[in-house]
Amino acid sequence: MSAPDLLYSEVEEDLRANVRRLLRDRCDWTAVLARCETDEPYDLALWRTLAGELGLASLLVSEELGGAGASTRELSVVAEEIGRSVAPVPFLSNLLTTATLVACADEPRVRELLPQFIDGSRLGTVAVGLTTVPYSAFPQSVKAEGTALSGSVSAVVDLEVADYVVVPAVDADGAALYLVDASVSGVSRSATTPLDLTRRFGTITLDRAVGERIASGADAERILRQALVTTAGLLAAEQVGLAQKCLDVTVEYAKTRYQFGRQIGSFQAIKHRLADLWAGVSSARAVARNAADTLARGDDETELAVAIAQAYCSDLVVLAAEEHLQLHGGIGMTWEHPAHLYLGRAKSSQLAFGIADHHRQRIGELADLPMP
């Protein structure tokens, strides 16, 4: 275990600047709010720009496969910016899909499709529930007979915009991953009304839908688990971005809002809460960077680093969103204010890939702190 590099490189800061500029121009919170009750809750044009022009979807893909050959370090910077702007783009599903497909790139069909995922012209997701704990057993709810898949999975993220779905299923050989074209017969999808207006999910039901097997047995289990661990680690970075945004906005507000003839930020009760929040965000950044760096190195500390990052960041982001709302007073309770966008994203991301308690249980196993 070498010491992690917890800072941002110049290249990473350049990438951040580009993504932030684009999101500032195209993804202002008023635009996010306006979009969320329309027929087009996703901003797919924005996603194509992010994926195609800025190359975000290709970061985890090796150069040999046509990608940028970067790592989770760069991707985590992007995740921070997506979190900061609560961008309504299929980012999380893209992380899951890319992490899975890259590991199955020996399959000709996967190789053929990857370029379309990279340029953003095709979207994919993985049929696991959004609250799946990365360290849990391989899902059993879909069965495969030959190439025909039957069963259903709820809370599949970004399902409604997916062109392809990677389905974990159990077949005659045990665990397997199947690639399913979402438009074939036997696939039905229903959207759930989400708490988080900026990130949607739904239930996929498969009734003898035809898929193509891309991994099986222990490989399938390992690939799915690694994809979930990687995505959970990057979600921590997204949470850092959102928490920082909540803090920045609230500090600004505390300097401009006057009550009792002075700025509310001059009251110690408020200063101390913001100082604590700043310290929390600083720590969240350190543990999320540690996860991104450890994932990039791929050493055997990966699961521990991700569990620590999720155990810390998923509660911290909720605290940040709640403090943001409380310190804004009544205006924070209105629909016309972004507080609820931040809170919805924060709270639902806290549930995603296991709540902090699940990650602490895993830490107990990994750090030799056994249960009673």
């Binding site: 969240a284 543990v287 620590i308 810390y312 830490i363 030799d368 702190l369 009673p372």
Partner: protein
């Protein structure tokens, strides 16, 4: 050109080839190491360093440890190394740097900090110890005559030197009338009395200063600049206290985790939950302080270190409280109430009761948690200061 890691390894190898730690007197070895610039590599050449990057120091320390070389026992001179040295480097003149830094680093001269007073703790700038300039002095050099009382002075019973802040001009507003000195703890008029603490021992003392004469050559910085110099010291104090970056389970959490492993029969689900939360917080704080160090590689510590100090204080208090509850009956006992004056504080060697009591000081010493939150809010986040009535009035008119 600054020295990089490879060159530094080469310099250490060459030094060890010429100075065999096993065949040499301990102090001679340490002095030679200082003179070779391998004491604190980020200090300038000639003052114990090579002007290298701060983050290369662990590499040098590890190489010396591996060779079985004696170290400078840094735990015995934490105020000297952590606070006095960076302050002397930054504000001292060449003569002062050459006089004080070498014996400080080798541990020949221990330092203490004469800042707090009975009437001035958090509000340090209101301190009342007087320094009056005496132009006559000895020979051609002016002297200062210092009178006052300091309190909570850790290690005063061991110290050869002290960093001291005193009021040189009571007619100025409180921040402007201060001057910073190096005080000889063996000078006539310096009296040290131990203060027994809640742990039974006396780490800290009261120090009475009565007509103590300090030569002007022991003034650090300009007359009236004492507050700026003191702020520099305090920033380093918070890094020294909070900025240590131990290995995983390196701090008090390691002791609690070991107890957990050794006593399966004492485990409960509620305690397990608490332990895991503390473990994650300890790891988060460790990584935060590591990240701060990486950011700090160049430049002086800023107000950000305050957050790590708050976190360590809260963690240490929560962990040591947890430890007693987990242990049960052994948690009722105390290892040793005997009054003595320790050379340093060793959490690990003492019992859980001592750890529990001593950790209570972590949120008071080096700036209370409340004051550190003010610092983060005002200096990091830029929030407006409290409305204050004391800033622009002459010190002597302030209510006390």
């Amino acid at each position: 050109m600054t020295v990089d890691a490879d060159e530094l390894r080469g310099i250490v190898r060459g030094f060890l080839a010429a100075n065999d730690p096993r065949g040499m007197d301990r102090l001679d070895f340490l002095r030679a190491r200082f003179d070779a610039g391998l004491a604190w590599v980020h200090f300038p050449a000639g003052l114990g360093g090579l002007g290298a990057a701060r983050e290369l120091q662990p590499l040098v320390d590890a190489a010396f440890a591996e060779a079985g070389a004696p170290d400078n026992r840094p735990h015995l001179n934490s105020i000297g190394l952590g606070m006095a040295a960076p302050t002397i480097l930054r504000f001292g003149n060449d003569e002062q740097r050459r006089r004080y830094l070498r014996p400080l680093w080798t541990g020949e001269e221990i330092w203490c900090q004469l800042f707090s007073e009975p009437g001035a703790g958090s509000d340090l700038a209101s301190l009342a110890t007087r320094a009056v300039r005496d132009e006559a002095g000895v020979g051609s050099e002016a002297e200062w005559v210092v009178d006052g009382q300091k309190v909570w002075t850790s290690l005063a019973h061991r110290a050869r030197w002290a960093i001291l802040v005193a009021r040189s001009d009571p007619d100025q507003p409180k921040h402007q009338g201060l001057t910073y000195f190096i005080c000889d703890m063996t000078a006539p008029g310096v009296e040290v009395r131990p203060l027994r603490q809640i742990t039974g021992e006396a780490e800290f003392n009261e120090v009475f200063l009565t007509g103590v004469r300090i030569p002007d050559s022991q003034r650090l910085g300009e007359i009236g600049q004492g507050w700026q110099v003191a702020l520099g010291t305090l920033m380093n104090e918070r890094v020294a206290i909070g900025g240590r970056a131990p290995a995983r389970e390196g701090g008090l959490i390691g002791i609690a985790a070991e107890a957990w492993r050794e006593h399966p029969e004492k485990r409960t689900h509620g305690l397990h939950n608490r332990l895991l939360r503390l473990w994650v917080d300890a790891e988060a704080t460790r990584l935060t302080s590591l990240r701060l160090r990486q950011q700090l590689a160049a430049g002086d510590p800023g107000p950000e270190g305050s957050a790590v100090k708050i976190a360590f204080a809260e963690l240490n208090q929560a962990i040591t409280g947890f430890e007693l509850e987990f242990l049960g009956e052994p948690g009722l006992a105390y290892d040793d109430w005997t009054f003595h004056q320790p050379e340093f504080t060793d959490f690990a060697k003492r019992g859980p009761g001592f750890r529990y009591l001593r950790a209570k000081g972590n949120s008071i010493e080096g700036g209370t948690t409340e004051i550190l939150r003010n610092i983060i809010a005002e200096r990091v986040l830029g929030l407006p200061p409290e409305s204050r009535t004391d800033k622009d009035r002459p010190w002597k008119e302030l209510p006390r």
